[in-house]
C-alpha cells in the first residue's frame, strides 16, 4: 500500500469545496428555472410555429450579445428569457473559477492563484465576443 510518510496527504480545503459545491448547484438550478420559465412562455406563444433549422442560411440566432439578450429579456421576449438562462448557466462555472481564486489566495497558494488567473484570462477571451 502507499507509504503515508512518503506522501503526506495535503489538507483538503473542505470550506472551499462546500462553497464551490453550493455555487454550482444554485447556479444550475437558477439557470434551469429561468430557461424552463422562458421555455413554457415560448411554447405558449410560438407552439404552432413551423421552424426551419436545417441550415445556417439566415445567420443563426440574433441573440448573440449580452446587451441584446438582456434588452430582450427586459422587454419580456420569451426567446431572450431562455437565452438569459443560458447566460446564467455559462456564468456558473466561470464564477466557480472566480471563487477558487479567492480560496487559493486565502491559502496563500500563489502558484494556484496564478494558474487560476490564466484560466480566467482564457475564459475572458472566449466570452469577449458577447460584449456587443
Amino acid at each position: 500500500m502507499t507509504d503515508e510518510q512518503h506522501t503526506p496527504p495535503p489538507d483538503r480545503d473542505e470550506a472551499l469545496e462546500a462553497v464551490l459545491g453550493n455555487l454550482l448547484r444554485i447556479g444550475v438550478i437558477v439557470a434551469a428555472v429561468v430557461v424552463g420559465a422562458g421555455g413554457v412562455y415560448l411554447l405558449i406563444i410560438r407552439g404552432g410555429w413551423i421552424p426551419d433549422f436545417r441550415s445556417f442560411q439566415d445567420g443563426g440566432s440574433p441573440l448573440r450579445s449580452i446587451p441584446l439578450i438582456l434588452r430582450g429579456a427586459f422587454e419580456f421576449r420569451a426567446d431572450a428569457i431562455v437565452q438569459t438562462g443560458l447566460l446564467l448557466l455559462i456564468a456558473t462555472p466561470v464564477l466557480r473559477v472566480v471563487f477558487s481564486l479567492f480560496g487559493f489566495a486565502r491559502q496563500r497558494d500563489w502558484l494556484y492563484v496564478a494558474l487560476t488567473l490564466i484560466v480566467l484570462c482564457v475564459l475572458a477571451v472566449g466570452l469577449s465576443g458577447l460584449q456587443t
Partner: protein
C-alpha cells in the same frame, strides 16, 4: 413539424440521452448531436451549440455533488483547465472554419473511440508509486475516500497528461461534447489518478471547458434558444435521474448496448459527412 412537437421530441430524446449518458459514463452529448442532425435534419452547428449547453448543465450539476463528497481534486482540475480552456478556444475557432461535413466526420471518429473506451471495464486503481517532479511542485497528489478513510495517491505523467488535455479541450470546443473519453485516457492511464478521482475531476473541468467555447458559439449565433431549451432541460433531468439509478444498477449490459448504438451513430455521421449530407 410544429415547434411544440419538435421541442417535445427533442426533450424526450434528450431525457433518454442524459439518462443513458449518466448510466454508461459516456455523457449525453454523444447521442444528442446525431439525434438532432440525423433524425431531425438540424444544422450540425445548432446541434453542437445545444449540446455544449447541455454539457455545462450536467457537468456542473454532477460536480456540485462530487466536490462535496471529497473525490474531486480541485488542484488537478484547475491545473488541467489551463490546457482544456485554451484547447476549447482553438476548437471553437476551428468550428467556424471547417465545413459541416468535416466536423461530422471528426465527430464520428471521436464517437467510435468513445464507444471503444467505454467498453474497457477494468481500471487499474493502484495509482502511481512515485509522483513525478512536476506533480510534487504543483501539489497534485491528494487523498480520496476509500473504505471510510482517506487513501493518499500520487500523480505522474504530468506533461503528457497536460498535452492530451489540450486536445480534449479542442475536441470539446469543436464538437460541443465533454470529451470525457479523452480526459479519462489522460488522467486514468497516463497520470495514473485513481478512477473515481479522475472521473469526478474530469467532470468538474468539463463545465469550465465548455464555458470557454460557449461564448464564441453564442457570439456566432450557433446557440438558438428554441433548440437549446428542450435539450438542456431534457439532458439535465435525464442525467440527474441516471446518477440516482447508477448506485443500484449493474451497467455492463447497458454499457455494451449503448456503445453499440453510439458506434452505429458514428458510422452514420461519418457516412453522411463524407457524402455531403450533413
Amino acid at each position: 413539424m410544429s415547434y411544440i412537437v419538435l421541442s417535445s421530441l427533442l426533450f424526450a430524446g434528450s431525457l433518454l440521452a442524459g439518462l443513458l449518458g449518466a448510466l454508461t459514463g459516456l455523457g449525453g452529448g454523444v447521442v444528442i448531436i446525431p439525434l438532432m442532425t440525423l433524425a431531425f435534419g438540424i444544422d450540425i452547428r445548432y446541434a453542437i451549440g445545444a449540446s455544449l449547453i447541455s454539457v455545462i448543465a450536467t457537468s456542473s450539476g454532477a460536480a456540485a455533488a462530487y466536490v462535496r463528497e471529497g473525490y474531486t481534486n480541485i488542484r488537478i482540475g484547475m491545473f488541467l483547465e489551463v490546457a482544456t480552456t485554451a484547447g476549447a478556444l482553438g476548437g471553437a475557432a476551428l468550428a467556424g472554419v471547417l465545413s459541416t461535413g468535416v466536423i461530422a466526420v471528426v465527430f464520428g471518429f471521436v464517437l467510435v473511440s468513445s464507444a471503444l473506451q467505454s467498453l474497457r471495464a477494468s481500471h487499474d486503481d493502484s495509482g502511481a508509486l512515485q509522483p513525478d517532479g512536476a506533480a510534487l511542485r504543483l501539489g497534485l497528489n491528494g487523498t480520496y475516500p476509500l473504505d471510510g478513510r482517506r487513501q493518499p495517491y500520487n500523480v505522474t505523467g504530468v506533461a503528457p497528461g497536460f498535452g492530451l488535455m489540450i486536445i480534449a479541450g479542442g475536441l470539446s470546443g469543436l464538437l460541443g461534447i465533454g470529451s470525457g473519453a479523452v480526459k479519462v485516457i489522460a488522467m486514468d492511464r497516463i497520470m495514473r489518478i485513481p478512477f473515481k478521482v479522475s472521473t469526478t475531476t474530469s467532470n468538474f473541468m468539463i463545465g469550465v471547458t465548455a464555458a470557454a467555447s460557449a461564448g464564441i458559439y453564442i457570439a456566432r449565433g450557433y446557440i438558438v434558444p428554441e433548440l437549446a431549451m428542450p435539450v438542456m432541460l431534457g439532458v439535465l433531468a435525464g442525467s440527474l435521474f441516471g446518477s440516482r439509478l447508477l448506485v443500484a444498477a449493474r451497467t455492463t449490459f447497458l454499457r455494451r448496448l449503448f456503445a453499440l448504438v453510439v458506434f452505429v451513430l458514428a458510422v452514420e455521421m461519418i457516412f453522411n459527412g463524407i457524402t455531403g449530407r450533413i
